[in-house]
Symmetry: C2
């Protein structure tokens, strides 16, 4: 298993390289801590608008020439702004590293940000925002997250309609200058590239990029409560959020194993009790989630209005019942499953680059597979059951969306 070499470059950019000498390709993940949580007050959606606007021209190229240049290098790429950060992902053949980085340097350091190009970007962002209405699960979770956080972590990453409509080119350019900075940004490369070679190429392309972005706001929570959104849907969407431990917590893997017992596979409790035995839902899951500094367990089910009350009750019962402990068999199967999942997800360079960047963002270091395996192996039955007894999942925030309020 390759180790990840990490170095902070002189401009504050964190470079991480995991060498895979057998691979002809390189997967890149650039993570910039520019997201909705640091959008300026009154310009919610600024990170989203900026991410779109960047591609309208940079360096010596207009939008079409820029896209053509990436295509001519055979780059598969995706970029997106989210709640906490904007990511630029790319995959390309290893011998194209330098010219690819040169293009990204133009986008990050020398975008044109012309006023005349902003209108189309705004329209696309408004379309995306409007599409939320036709995606009931996403709409429900957006409202639920807003209910959980009093801090900007409750914002909609797609922005607010009124803010998107009135954001000016000038305000966005100032925001770009303020937030698109190397210090605190993370560049992960996984694939057929050596660390020294990568470092040289990155310094050549991005060495002149300077400055520090803005700090993320502290997390502030509301008191747990329930909310209902009325909408004429066929299914009722149910979401729950329970407080959980962060990746830095000593019992993080203990909690992960417990959640796997709840919802890690088709022998897990939620799938068995809610779907397989009772046929209450087509889809049900519980998944670890969170923001930097605050983690939670996110639970979902979609069902018919008639079954919504029972579904919500069974969900909460199963989650509460975790505090009574798991069985030896459940723990063992879950350990095997988590280990296999880790080995296999690591196979994809793209996924590995994304998780290296995420680790550096959340923890400030990269967890190796060996470390994770050792931590998982350490969790025995008495430890997990004591943990669950002393730290029961309870007091969730609850959201429902559907044609009528649950009985």
């Amino acid at each position: 298993m390759a180790l990840t070499e990490v170095e902070v470059l002189s401009n504050g950019l964190v470079l991480a390289v995991e060498e895979r000498p057998w691979s002809p390709a390189v997967a890149m993940q650039l993570l910039l801590p520019v997201g909705a949580v640091t959008d300026p007050e009154g310009v919610e959606g600024a990170a989203s608008l900026l991410e779109g606007w960047l591609w309208k021209g940079a360096g010596g190229r207009d939008a079409q020439a820029l896209a053509d240049a990436f295509d001519a290098l055979g780059v598969r790429r995706a970029s997106a702004s989210g709640l906490e950060y904007t990511t630029f992902a790319a995959e390309f053949l290893a011998d194209k590293l330098r010219p690819v980085l040169a293009l990204y340097a133009d986008v990050l350091m020398r975008p044109h940000l012309l006023g005349e190009d902003l209108e189309a970007v705004r329209q696309v962002a408004l379309q995306e925002r409007a599409a939320l209405e036709d995606q009931p699960p996403k709409k429900m979770f957006t409202a639920l997250r807003r209910a959980v956080f009093k801090s900007p972590h409750g914002r909609n990453p797609d922005g607010e309609k009124a803010h998107l409509e009135r954001a000016t080119a000038q305000a966005l350019r100032e925001d770009f200058a303020r937030r698109y900075r190397p210090k605190g940004a993370i560049l992960a490369l996984v694939g057929g590239v050596r660390f020294e070679e990568a470092k040289e190429a990155v310094e050549e392309a991005l060495g002149g990029w300077r400055g520090e972005g803005v700090p993320h706001p502290p997390v502030e929570l509301s008191a747990p409560h329930a909310l209902h959104l009325e909408q004429a849907t066929a299914q009722v969407q149910i979401g729950l959020i329970y407080p959980d431990v962060t990746p830095a917590h000593p019992e993080f893997y203990t909690a992960r194993l417990a959640v796997q017992v709840l919802s890690g596979s088709s022998s897990s409790r939620l799938f068995t009790e809610v779907r397989e035995k009772r046929g209450l839902v087509y889809s049900v899951y519980a998944t670890p989630n969170g923001v930097k500094g605050y983690s939670y367990l996110r639970v979902y089910a979609g069902t018919t209005p008639e079954r919504a009350g029972e579904t919500l009750r069974v969900l909460q019962e199963e989650i509460t019942r975790l505090s009574e402990g798991v069985t030896e068999g459940e723990l063992e199967r879950t350990k095997v499953g988590l280990r296999a999942a880790l080995v296999m997800q690591d196979e994809s360079s793209r996924q590995r680059a994304a998780s290296v960047a995420r680790d550096l963002y959340q923890l400030g270091r990269v967890r190796s597979l060996d470390e994770i395996e050792a931590r998982i192996a350490e969790v025995n039955l008495s430890r997990i059951n004591r943990y669950l007894r002393e730290n029961p999942y309870r007091g969730p925030w609850v959201a429902t969306l559907g044609p009528r309020k649950l009985a």
Copy 2:
């Protein structure tokens, strides 16, 4: 690049193995030609119900024991029934091949199919069917496909509500006996396993499985026409289906390159003209699609009611304009992009196993990367432009879904 070894076993099962000696894991894709197109008349949804019912117990295990056994082996798995086939996908560590195959043999040859377990399976299938109402793009394409095909290829893979409700255990058991057969089924393995070793393990587990499934019905088309579904959505969903060439056609890669020019990247025409310049949509694409023996180009856009008319017009104009030809630059970038995409998607064992199985199903053979690259390299500007002139994309089926009919 590893070659895929393919052999038809004595019971008619097609085994394909692509060795990746450096990988600790194996990705498996089992493709059974059991889908909605061969569902019995009046039992549309039978393939979907069977796929759910199988997991309720098989061999010496009940549902929980079966799921536990897969988990204890660290198998990540997914199964799904679709329009033409049911797939069983799994990833596991290479040394678990024999016990994993033994479990699948139970599921395929010795499922319990107990009447008492059917009700929960039925409820889950009905939930999935009902959820279609809350997924406007999927609902629109389901209606569009139904409009295109007069043959069973227009069916909804999730089945029909009334059929799902009245399907009896007896009818489903007979259907299982009729369709779950090895002849015509395909088992692809990609990863750290040798062909001979795999063949031995497969013969041991599945050698006693016997019989031939049912033939797929011939494709029958309607005359192209337009339809509108009225629903109180925020966005209008627009779908178009144009006739296209099948993978067996000598100009298949010529057409693929043309579609890439239209919609393969962010320098492609639809993205540029519909999204980037005009801001008409958040999402727009054209993608090759089809069923065995008939291929089509599937085009999608989602937009506001006010912009729907213009969006549909610009979409059709851009697609028609392909017949005027592509530029040298477009062709060259597209060739580079397609090649890079092929190399990179091949990296994932899971994706490779799925495409090996799909190739065998659609073409009866596996295309190697070398072959595809050679075919792409052969397409020059005069060839693609002559092809487009002589075979313009026109006469689509069109579906719209939204709050009102387009002007």
